[in-house]
């Protein structure tokens, strides 16, 4: 398991902490390594999973 880096948050209130605009970054195609590492840990856990959907078929009576 990879170690998660501690994110420095002292000196910021939660609402003032710098936010990453993921959409813009994705459009630029550039992502900062420090922002990516926590995501890397999260994505490392992912595995294929099965989802089964069931629905009742209703018939149009018109």
């Amino acid at each position: 398991m990879r170690k998660r880096k501690q994110v420095e948050t002292t000196g910021y209130a939660a609402q003032e902490a710098p936010q990453t605009d993921a959409t813009e970054k994705e459009e630029e195609g550039i992502r900062d390594y420090k922002e990516v590492e926590p995501e890397k840990d999260k994505h490392a856990l992912l595995k294929p999973k099965r989802v089964i959907i069931r629905a009742i078929i209703t018939h149009d009576k018109s």
């Binding site: 990879r2 459009e27 195609g29 550039i30 992502r31 390594y33 990516v36 995501e39 890397k40 994505h43 490392a44 856990l45 992912l46 595995k47 294929p48 999973k49 099965r50 989802v51 089964i52 959907i53 069931r54 629905a55 009742i56 078929i57």
Partner: protein, 198 residues
């Protein structure tokens, strides 16, 4: 380590890696209840030849501009293969959410493990991604390739795109996949079976 492009293209390319791609296992209807089973793969890589993808894109564009054009180069589906976290793969746990237990006895520090890392076993492609990407070191298992509808993939393309493996690196993957598909496994014959009466 491979080279990747993170800029998005206006079409699906060979070597594109997408997240959260759905594969429909089955659809059945019984006594008024519709049941759909799907597998959601966290990461897949596109294996279809890029020239086919480019021709499909151009043909669709031409068809929109000139309805009288034929659709000879249209594709219905795209060949893809899943990527697995190498750490899950080593423990045979990469399909554990599907209750499928894979080999967990690959000697990673010995010959077989070295062969996988050096891409000398036809079934696997080991990929080391640049650290800036969200994907960890991964392995493609060519045995589990599948096809998905090209229009469905195109719908999720912009939102689910992660990166695209660069030229040469993607051709190597495609070449190894083609070799894996075309391999011929000969049976081990018993002495009596080796003689065929004419």
């Amino acid at each position: 380590m491979i080279r990747v492009k993170v800029s998005k293209s206006n079409r699906i390319r060979q070597g594109d890696i997408y997240r959260n791609v759905e594969y429909i296992e089955y659809v059945k209807e019984e006594k008024g209840i519709l049941e759909i089973s799907k597998i959601i793969y966290p990461y897949i890589i596109v294996l279809t030849q890029d020239c086919d993808l480019e021709q499909d894109f151009k043909n669709r564009k031409e068809k929109r501009e000139k309805p009288e054009k034929t659709q000879d180069k249209y594709l219905f589906s795209v060949l893809v293969a899943p990527l697995f976290n190498i750490e899950h793969f080593k423990k045979g746990e990469h399909f554990s959410e599907l209750k499928i237990h894979m080999r967990d006895d690959i000697p990673w520090d010995r010959t077989e493990g070295n062969k996988i890392r050096k891409n000398e076993l036809p079934r696997y492609q080991y990929i080391k991604f640049p650290p800036e990407l969200e994907i960890v070191d991964s392995i493609i298992d060519f045995k589990h390739f599948f096809s998905i509808n090209i229009e469905n993939l195109n719908e999720i393309r912009r939102k689910n795109f992660i990166c695209s493996v660069s030229e040469l690196f993607r051709e190597e993957i495609s070449d190894r996949f083609a070799f894996y598909l075309s391999r011929i496994g000969l049976p081990e014959l018993k002495p009596k079976e080796k003689l065929v009466s004419l």
